[in-house]
């Protein structure tokens, strides 16, 4: 069912086109506002912490200045000091430091919580959508894209939140500093008015210059990774055709392009970092120059000069936090732009109000003029398919590769809805049933077996109310009891991610047991026994159909042994039901059918070949 995906045209477009780049700051600020709107409480706490930190940083500078003025210089001038003055100085320094530490902890912790909460929240929302949206939506989106939407894209969308309160605190700190400067000495304040706006300008230029380079480096990183993935997956082909060197050349070309991209990023950052460091230093020097004149002129005193010089030194780091946020915004926007379409996607499968008709034993299945087409594919995959299956009967669906068999199987259990026509279970349209009702009546075993990273028991019951006896009975029916009892922890053995610790046949039999334990009234097997021995397969089907109330079974199959177990066969070709009947009839009447199921017959065995043998 997962075949012929049409790539999502929105995937991979990046908001880094030149005309959109000017937009980055504005859109970025709106994204910042979004994060604050989502977590206003935590953000407030984080900013409070950060402001406390900012205020205490400024205070510590004034403490240094005050101590210089009131304790150090008098003591040096007088050659004497008091224990009380020294103790007070030490206490004030410590008190300010402790408050500052409280501020830092609050800022970091709440900023972290805010960022992680946003990530967790959006992961829940995205995966909620994955579970809610219909299968047809899944089929339109590559697996890798969906996985990275929920993981790395969500992470990059909110990564900037970690330094955000720090940056806001830095703004507070700058505000306090400017006010303090004005109060201390208007001429010294001029230095601040030159330095601080310059910091903003450089930061803004930096993020503008950086964002396309970062995007390019990220793009190249993805390309390098793609080549590595593909090439290592193809390792056997590369080896058997001796193409190691050409693969290495292909990889090296992109790897060195990435090198150039990263050096281009480094060049900008390499310039930005020393600039941001030099600016406060030059500011401090300017303060000394202007301040010395003011002190000499008696407009201010040495202590205040020291305070302001110290303040400029302390401000160097917080100011850079603004740069961190701004620099990360382009990446955040790119990530968010990839997540947003998932969240905005609509098309939840609508459910009706009805309960499924009660009954024991097989259900009556009717398929009425069913047509189904995948989006963007001109020819419908199924067209006007009509048939029915009486309760307890077994129907085989046979057709060449790509004829629409798997799509049909999915329609029978409402994995997808038909474009037109209907599927009736005991005369009731599947679409009128309540959510979850179809799965109480019908069990489906898909072509590609999927196991959860859970125990054997968990994989069979999927959280349902079956006890161990029932699980063992189901395993026995699915011919899986032998290998499960040999597993180190029996039913409690974990099967690993996607059942990695089991063989293909074992996985298929567990998937069968999962269906069987539910005692479904309709069982749909989509080529689900291909890795199971034919004799075992026959035993499984016989067990299902035994008793007074046999299960209705629809089985998609290639193997003649499987087909032979069916009461009736439908032959599907290019999406249309071409013929229906018992195996022998179809064999005699439908040439395509005979060709497919009898392909292995050596020429001398086949009827046509017999006619060619001269008598």
């Amino acid at each position: 069912m997962s075949r012929r995906r049409t790539p999502d045209p929105a995937a991979g477009t990046r908001p880094s086109a030149p005309d959109e780049r000017k937009d980055v700051v504005r859109r970025g600020l709106r994204h910042v506002a979004r994060s604050i709107r989502e977590q206003p409480g935590i953000f407030t706490w984080a900013v409070l912490g950060s402001s406390l930190y900012g205020g205490m940083t400024v205070a510590s500078a004034y403490v240094v200045g005050g101590v210089t003025d009131r304790v150090v210089l008098p003591a040096y001038d007088d050659g004497d000091t008091s224990a009380a003055a020294l103790t007070l100085a030490a206490l004030v320094i410590m008190a300010v430091a402790v408050l500052k530490i409280v501020g830092i902890i609050g800022r970091r912790l709440f900023a972290g919580i805010m960022s992680y909460r946003l990530q967790a929240d959006y992961r829940r929302r995205v995966t909620g959508q994955y579970l809610r949206l219909p299968l047809s939506w899944h089929q339109r989106h590559p697996t890798g894209q969906l996985l990275s939407n929920a993981n790395s894209d969500v992470e990059s969308a909110w990564y900037f939140v970690s330094p955000l309160p720090f940056a806001v605190g830095a703004l507070v700190m700058i505000g306090i500093t400017v006010a303090a400067l004005l109060l201390t000495d208007p001429l010294l304040a001029v230095v601040g008015f030159v330095v601080f706006p310059l910091v903003f300008v450089i930061n803004a230029v930096y993020s503008q210059v950086m964002s396309p380079r970062m995007a390019r480096a990220q793009q190249l990183r993805a390309e390098v990774s793609e080549i590595a993935h593909e090439s290592f997956d193809a390792a056997l082909v590369v080896k058997t055709l001796g193409r190691e060197q050409s693969e290495t050349d292909r990889f090296a070309e992109r790897a060195y392009e990435l090198r150039d991209g990263l050096v281009a990023v480094g060049r900008v950052r390499g310039l930005f970092d020393p600039l941001m460091e030099a600016l406060p230093n030059l500011g401090t020097l300017a303060v000394l120059l202007v301040g010395a004149e003011r002190v000499a002129g008696g407009a201010t005193d040495a202590g205040e000069l020291v305070s302001i010089a110290y303040l400029f030194t302390l401000l160097a780091l917080p100011i850079r936090a603004i740069g961190w946020v701004l620099a990360d915004l382009p990446r955040a926007l790119a990530g968010f732009d990839r997540v947003a379409p998932v969240l905005a996607a609509t098309g939840e499968t609508p459910h009706g109000p009805d309960a499924a008709p009660a009954g024991t034993g097989g259900a009556a299945l009717a398929v009425d003029d069913l047509t189904f087409g995948y989006d963007g594919v001109a020819r419908p995959t199924l067209e006007g398919v009509t048939f029915d299956v009486a309760p307890g009967r077994t129907l085989a669906v046979v057709g060449p590769t790509g004829s629409g068999k798997s799509t049909l199987a999915g329609l029978l259990v409402r994995l997808v809805d038909p474009s037109t026509g209907q599927v009736l279970l005991d005369g009731v349209d599947l679409r009128t049933l309540r959510e979850g009702e179809v799965s109480t009546q019908a069990a489906f075993v898909p072509q590609g077996t999927f196991l959860f990273d859970d125990t054997v028991r968990g994989n069979v019951t999927l959280g349902g109310p079956w006890d161990d006896d029932e699980v063992w009975a189901a395993l026995r029916t699915a011919a899986a009891d032998d290998f499960v009892s040999r597993l180190p922890e029996g039913l409690d053995t974990r099967v690993g991610e996607r059942g990695a610790s089991l063989s293909g046949g074992q996985r298929q039999r567990l998937a069968l047991a999962r269906a069987v334990v539910r005692r479904p009234r309709l069982l749909v097997l989509d080529d689900a026994t291909s890795a199971v021995d034919p004799a075992v397969e026959a035993r499984i089907l016989d067990a299902l159909r035994a008793g007074d109330h046999p299960v209705t079974v629809v089985v998609v199959a290639y193997r003649q042994a499987t087909i032979a177990l069916a009461d009736e066969v439908v032959w599907i070709d290019r999406g249309r039901l071409v013929a229906r009947g018992i195996h022998a009839e179809l064999l005699a009447q439908v040439p395509g059918y005979a060709r497919l199921v009898q392909a292995y017959q050596p020429p001398e065995d086949s009827p046509t070949a017999l006619q060619e043998v001269p008598a």
Partner: protein, 601 residues
């Protein structure tokens, strides 16, 4: 991945050893290193200019004996400004040099590791998860690069900063220097503990990230199962648990980082208080000036930032070193199947195959997959190898194509021992089509051309016609130009195999090995294809690992493998009537393909 991390935590001391090993493997890294170091010294020296300027202004400018000496202050500030600018330029030059060298070195490392992975034998490649091999040349190297661009520079400069600040302090006053060092010693000791703590909490975070990835994967890869069994709520709950656990671990890690971060701040405050108290007492004694005391308060800030940097960088550094080690481990793995130094070329013409007492075990001490196989296959014959799953059929194919070397005995192709044949000659003349014929994300034509570069689209179309696949090709939207999608996913498994066979066919080998190459092709197409191959391969030697005995029925000779030994050998019609495993296999196959009328009834 988790084993690599465990190893990191067990032997943290070998970080230096890793670095030495790494430098050996990255010759590019050493280029121009002395100049970079010289620049880094200038860069760190520039950081102490401001405290010195403050001290000079206070003591010699404002505190000059004859009143404030403003010209001196002006001269001083101008000189310091020049130094600040020079420092900035030096830092810029250093950064760019460092980035260029490390990125070049890392690109080289990436490419060498990539090539090395391809040079490893299939045994090694299969022993590791594909994803983890990819990480060796992507995220592991990326992590190193990110670390070098950010943490590496910061770490280097921080370290230099500590040294230079200490020297300047010592020049000013040895008593106060001692005091500051005493204050910071406990922190230096604690750093080791902090590093362990950080490694621990971030280790948990990484583990939880893995759980989240797995849980999210279930909602995507398992989408049909989730819907068919109506277990949306249960799946959502599982994902929610994983996400919550990841969240909690992240917050815990953040707490630890914050604690480490503020420890520097606290110690600095203690140092400041101590400087003021002791400095004032020393000043009264006439040992230091007021400017010196204030300069010390400035210099202490130079001690704080390295500690804070460390709290941010330590975890990254540990990750980077662990990743580095994993990459180096790949490079250190000796390829056990090597291209011989002075390789021979295979003789022209059809190739025969000889196994001389060949034994093969996948691991030392394991039950051999093949035991003492001794046989010859004449050139130009079509041989089918049959047997139950796990009997050793595929091992046979891998030994002929030298994807692996035998544990005992030797394999000869065209009379030459395969381990003496140059890869270039072997891969050109002996081609295998594996069961999973991987396709690249390109057109059908490009994929076929992979077997023989330079073929035109017309030649490729012709090749499909010769293989009896013209109709199938005609059914594709753009013929040979049809893109196959990532990993060939736009095609069905069977269609992928058709392209893979065509790819091997155009490579025109003299010995063709088909390892269940058509297992997913529908029966009718498979028969058409094998018939075409039969006529086309006459003249070359063909070894077919067969899962469907239809192939065996048409072969010149059948080898029956059972439990690692060749137990039967002969033509199909001889074997099918003889007592033995072949007759049993054949009967079972006839049943499953429905050829006996009894099962249909």
């Amino acid at each position: 991945m988790s084993t690599g991390l465990d190893a990191t935590e067990q032997r943290p001391k070998s970080a230096l050893a890793t670095l030495r090993r790494g430098l050996r493997m990255m010759p590019e890294f050493r280029q121009g290193l002395p100049a970079t170091f010289a620049l880094s010294l200038i860069a760190t020296a520039g950081r102490v200019v401001v405290p010195i300027a403050v001290q000079q202004t206070l003591d010699r400018g404002l505190g000059a004996p004859g009143g404030p000496d403003l010209p001196l202050v002006r001269w001083l500030v101008a000189a310091c400004a020049v130094i600040v600018v020079v420092t900035g330029v030096a830092v810029y030059r250093m950064n760019v040099r460092l980035f260029r060298t490390t990125e070049t070195a890392l690109a080289g490392l990436r490419v060498r590791a990539f090539r090395h992975v391809h040079d490893l034998s299939v045994l090694h490649q299969q022993g590791q998860r594909r994803g983890s091999l990819v990480s060796r040349v992507t995220s592991d190297v990326d992590q190193l690069s990110v670390f070098m661009q950010w943490g590496g520079v910061l770490g280097l400069v921080s370290l230099g900063q500590l040294v230079v600040a200490t020297v300047v302090m010592a020049v000013y006053s040895w008593q106060l220097t001692l005091l500051v060092l005493v204050c910071f010693v406990p922190l230096a000791v604690a750093i080791k503990f902090f590093a362990r703590r950080l490694a621990h909490v971030y280790g948990i975070v990484r583990e939880r990230v893995g759980d989240v990835l797995a849980a999210v994967g279930e909602s995507v890869v398992g989408a049909p199962t989730v819907r068919a069994y109506g277990i949306r709520a249960r799946t959502a709950a599982r994902i929610d648990t994983a996400i919550t656990r990841h969240y909690e671990a992240s917050v815990r890690a953040q707490r630890t980082t914050a604690a480490v971060y503020v420890s520097g701040e606290f110690v600095a405050a203690v140092a400041n208080a101590a400087i003021v108290v002791v400095g004032v007492l020393l000043g009264i004694g006439g040992h230091i000036s007021a400017g010196t005391l204030v300069a010390f308060l400035f210099l202490v800030t130079l001690f704080v930032s390295p500690v804070q940097t460390a709290s941010e960088v330590l975890n990254e550094a540990q990750n980077a070193v662990a990743g580095f080690r994993r990459v180096l481990d790949v490079l250190d793995t000796e390829p056990d199947v090597r291209d011989p130094a002075a390789g021979r070329t295979l003789p022209p013409g059809p190739l025969d195959v000889r196994f001389e007492h060949v034994t093969f075990a996948y691991a030392p001490g394991a039950r051999p997959a093949l035991t003492d196989v001794d046989l010859a296959i004449a050139a130009r014959t079509r041989v089918a190898i049959v047997g139950e799953t796990g009997s050793g059929k595929t091992t046979f194919a891998k030994l002929v194509t030298r994807l692996m070397d035998p544990t005992g005995g030797r394999v000869l192709v065209g009379g030459v021992p395969v381990d003496e044949v140059a890869f270039s000659s072997l891969r050109e003349r002996v081609v295998m089509v594996p069961q999973d014929g991987f396709l690249f994300d390109a057109s059908v034509a490009d994929n076929v051309r992979y077997g023989r570069p330079g073929l035109t689209d017309a030649q490729i179309t012709a090749a499909f016609e010769e293989l009896g696949l013209g109709d199938w090709l005609g059914g594709l939207p753009d013929g040979v130009a049809t893109p196959v999608g990532q990993r060939g996913e736009s095609l069905s498994a069977g269609e992928r195999q058709l392209v893979a066979v065509a790819r091997a066919y155009v490579a025109d080998p003299d010995l063709l090995v088909l390892d269940e190459a058509t297992s997913a092709v529908d029966p009718a197409t498979e028969m058409a294809l094998t018939r075409a191959l039969d006529t086309l391969t006459s003249g070359r030697t063909t070894l077919t690992i067969a899962h469907r005995l239809s192939t065996a029925e048409r072969a010149d000779e059948v080898l029956v493998v059972d439990a690692g030994r060749v137990v039967q050998r002969g033509r199909h019609d001889e074997l099918v009537d003889a007592e033995g495993p072949y007759a049993r296999l054949h009967a079972s196959w006839r049943r499953s393909s429905g050829r006996t009328p009894e099962t249909i009834a």
